[in-house]
Symmetry: C2
């Protein structure tokens, strides 16, 4: 019997009929007071995948975060809205008790069935070699205790983006790191939904160390990732009116842009410490 990776066991679902799936949200994905939105998105994305035979891959997924999820039992309820031709669209809710935590719309397809034509002008993220990038696990103990999620990952940060750890934020709305799961589980389209929201928010580097609640996140998975390290780039260009957008790009070990996302988040209320 094959042993599931930590990630796969934590997003495992039990079919409960009529598009419903039972889940057990794992507290190891906590950050601050809540569970990480990317972890929950991958879990929901896994439920949608199970509901759309022949269309295994998320192409576009939009998540609206309504209330904070807690570790423990939850239900993913999937409603297939249209399934015909090359893509299918579904809505899905993550529910705990009588509370909807996250409402999702998503379009799935088969990434293997898409063309090979690539005309990317986006420049591949340039990171120093792994050995020159500090490990996330080297963060101070109080950071790791507040964010157990950091233990799920092997993250190696761009040296210029780590000043927030020691109270010297860079002042630039950017966060860049090498990324892989701590147990070596290789990336796939479902895990990319988690990777897109795994790094600390860019506001840490703008002198706002508090929690930045996501209102909405839309993800595009553009290709199946090759095995190996991913490179992840987060950036904000417009912090205004108490909100900021955060764009993320994920590049695989062959240098291909495999996922993109944009989220709208609330500016942390905590002033710089």
């Amino acid at each position: 019997m094959q042993t599931l990776s930590e990630f796969d066991s934590h997003i495992a679902l039990t079919p409960a009929g009529e598009g419903r799936y039972a889940a057990d949200l794992d507290g190891g994905w906590s950050v601050g007071g809540g569970l990480n939105g990317g972890y929950l998105l991958a879990l929901i994305g896994s439920g949608i995948r199970a509901s759309l035979p022949g269309k295994p891959d998320p192409l576009a997924v939009s998540a609206y975060y309504l209330s904070a999820a807690r570790p423990g039992p939850a239900t993913v309820a999937v409603d297939v809205r249209r399934d015909g031709g090359r893509v299918a669209t579904a809505s899905a809710d993550l529910v705990q008790g009588d509370q909807t935590r996250i409402a999702v719309l998503a379009t799935y397809g088969d990434l293997d069935g898409l063309g090979d034509d690539v005309r990317t002008t986006a420049g591949e993220l340039d990171l120093p070699p792994l050995e020159e990038c500090p490990r996330g696990s080297a963060a101070p103990r109080e950071v790791l205790d507040r964010a157990p999620i950091m233990r799920r990952f092997d993250m190696r940060f761009h040296p210029d983006d780590l000043g927030w750890v020691t109270g010297r934020p860079s002042g630039e709305g950017r966060m860049r790191a090498w990324f892989r799961l701590a147990d070596g589980r290789e990336p796939d389209p479902i895990s990319l939904l988690m990777v897109l929201d795994a790094l600390p928010p860019v506001t840490f580097n703008l002198g706002m160390p508090g929690w930045a609640p996501t209102l909405e996140l839309s993800a595009h998975v553009r290709a199946k990732p090759a095995p190996g390290w991913l490179k992840v780039h987060h950036e904000t260009r417009n912090l205004a009116g108490g909100m900021f957008e955060e764009d993320c790009e994920v590049w695989d070990s062959t240098g291909r842009l495999v996922a993109q996302s944009r989220q709208l988040a609330m500016q942390p209320r905590t002033p710089a410490g």
Copy 2:
């Protein structure tokens, strides 16, 4: 009695009870075979607004395009998913007969109630003066006949982005223009939902003149626009696997970034003409 602008009369809704609104989709917003997605998004956005008293402004709106809408009767069906605190979230469908045309998730709030803090690093779109930018209405008659929507707008294109009109596409995945409604109706948060998807697709400048069906579009309205001309910037960075993402930014007459969007669209099948 005040006369409605063309835009306002074309997105007008009649309440039909239980979150439902009757609409009459106007053929003047056709482009190629279908109705423009931005027009439909503004119409749906107007129905959501009517369902959320005290939260008049779209902050984030995600639309999934399931089937092509046709001119004529339609229904906007809104379901308020959460309303409490500073923001509210709703789902909404645009329906014709038994077909859902567009499925939407959206979070609304009050843009006047947000802070004035602006820390934008995004560079304001640089366009030549209006008089140096060719009018969209100067396009060849066959372009205007295929796209009656062009007559709704006063668009003045960046001279470098208009080569596609004469069969000499720039080769760059970009489209930039001054923008206002033809009848002078001033912009507001609802009309911005239309503006974000009004220009010809960037693929026209990549030598792909066909229709580029949107799979998903997510819009963020970041501030109320000032009266006057808008500046609109579309760009793609990653055309791959038969799909491309298209980012849009809208700047108002005071130089403020008032709206952002990203969409995932299918690459046109038509080869370069």
